[in-house]
């Protein structure tokens, strides 16, 4: 017996249910990380969904089969109704994940959320030392508070995932980062190299590690992992490499409208949290039910299946494995979201990836030259 099973069928032939629901409760955030995946013009967003509207979304999602629920943002803790939403979600049967910077968290909240039924808290860090962490986060007190909150999360009995976004300014800290996680008693450590969307795309030259940096980091992670396995530790290291150094494509979101459904703070429903940047009209949960959004809306059907694919994807024998890669990346790098993701070496636009790699070998920009994610900078993007 090995326990696994093929994925299930949904209400329509060929379309499975949205098993993952990501609730981006707000774009408000006390931090200013220059790789934030929120839209550049987030400050333009009006009118967050109300508590009642979120409850309706949660109920509809659960009814359709969603089992994993992420509360994210922005910083979800700025929502005063978070405990109420957690309680509702848990009672509906979701596995509830809180994805937080830790800012705004207190021991009392950690315990109150546990009593409300929260299953897991993921705390993100920016580096293994206070100086670099706080410089990246754009916040002077962030690091000490994150440490305190990670300890409180552990103390309260939650499984603990610590997340570090990795880029050229902290990639040399791999061993220190993992050893910090070990001391904090993490169950999972996500070492997620920046993916270049949103603010990270804007800052790509200042964030992307060189190939040499990446290989060194990967070797360090592998060596650490072996030590952990040898010592019988259950701490799991998940190292996400940037796909800019791949020749083959990631199966982005496991396919468009296949498993994931994101609801943005204003109720816009998206097949992934970056898709908002695409020139496609997406439905809003204020106007339609999640069921009709998932199965029937033009936005969610836009890139389902493979009939939309141009060459070289159309005749490629890997198209069922990688779905042509990422639509957002194709759009950002080629101006047309229908194109093959340029990460693929068969893409006629692969030279853009090669150019980015070359730039990363020679980049010199310091942290202070990055564009930080805050409301003032955001306004520049929509005022033009």
């Amino acid at each position: 017996m090995n326990g696994h099973h093929a994925m299930p069928a949904g209400d329509r032939p060929g379309i499975g249910p949205p098993l993952w629901l990501l609730a981006e409760l707000t774009y408000r955030c006390p931090l200013q990380c220059p790789y934030c995946s929120n839209p550049l013009d987030f400050a333009q967003t009006q009118q967050e969904l109300t508590t009642e509207e979120w409850v309706r979304v949660l109920r509809q999602g659960r009814e359709m089969g969603a089992a994993q629920l992420g509360f994210s943002g922005g910083e979800p803790l700025v929502r005063q109704d978070l405990a109420e939403l957690i309680a509702e979600a848990r009672q509906l049967g979701y596995y509830t994940n809180l994805i937080t910077s830790g800012l705004g968290l207190t021991e009392a909240k950690v315990n109150a959320f546990r009593d409300a039924g929260l299953d897991h808290i993921q705390v993100s860090f920016q580096a293994s030392d206070p100086e670099l962490n706080n410089a990246v986060a754009g916040s002077r007190k962030a690091f000490d508070h994150k440490l305190a909150m990670a300890r409180a999360v552990k103390e309260a009995g939650y499984p603990m995932v610590l997340n570090f976004v990795i880029h050229r300014h902290n990639i040399h800290q791999m061993e220190d980062i993992i050893s910090l996680c070990e001391r904090l008693g993490a169950d999972y450590v996500e070492l997620a190299t920046c993916q270049y969307y949103g603010w990270a795309f804007e800052n790509r030259e200042g964030l992307m590690p060189s190939k040499a940096q990446l290989e060194k980091a990967e070797a360090e992670v592998n060596a650490y992992r072996e030590r952990l396995t040898a010592s019988g530790s259950a701490m799991k290291l998940i190292f996400v490499t940037p796909d800019y150094y791949e020749e083959r494509l990631k199966a982005c979101m496991n396919g468009w409208g296949s498993l994931f459904l994101t609801v943005a703070p204003d109720g816009t429903a998206l097949p992934c949290h970056s898709a908002r940047l695409l020139p496609i009209e997406f439905p809003n949960v204020r106007e339609s039910s999640l069921h009709s959004i998932w199965y029937d809306s033009p936005g969610f059907n836009h890139y389902r299946g493979d009939s939309w694919m141009p060459e070289p994807c159309r005749s490629c024998d890997e198209k069922d494995k990688d779905f042509g890669g990422c639509r957002c990346q194709a759009y950002l790098l080629t101006g047309n979201a229908d194109n093959a993701d340029p990460v693929c070496s068969k893409s006629p636009h692969h030279d853009r990836i090669l150019a980015a790699r070359k730039a990363a070998d020679h980049a010199t920009a310091g942290l202070e030259e990055l564009t930080y994610r805050n409301a003032d900078n955001s306004r520049l993007f929509f005022r033009g």
Partner: protein, 91 residues
């Protein structure tokens, strides 16, 4: 290393086992992850409650599936695998 009949398995903290009608299967949920279980894996994990030992679980399953013959080996193999995957721990 084998598993002794007196050992008591329980789900690893933070793991949840539940029936999902939309998937017509039992699933194991954990931080940002989900495993859809096949019928036999679901049947074993259903009896893992942190109280019953391996012998109890085998006996219960043999009662539920009288035509299956001895289930000791299948159940032990699965529990060993589940432990290696860090889904369960033994106390």
């Amino acid at each position: 290393m084998g598993i002794s009949m007196e050992q008591i398995p329980r789900l690893r903290p933070g793991f949840r086992f539940q029936w999902e009608p939309a998937q017509n299967a039992h699933v194991l949920l954990y931080p940002e992850g989900m495993v859809r279980l096949n019928g036999s894996a679901g049947a074993v994990l259903k009896e893992v409650d942190g109280q019953r030992n391996v012998a109890d679980i085998v006996a219960l399953l043999e009662q539920q599936f009288p035509d299956a013959g001895s289930l000791l080996e299948d159940v032990s193999d699965f529990l060993k695998d589940a432990e290696q995957q860090h889904w369960i721990v033994f106390t």
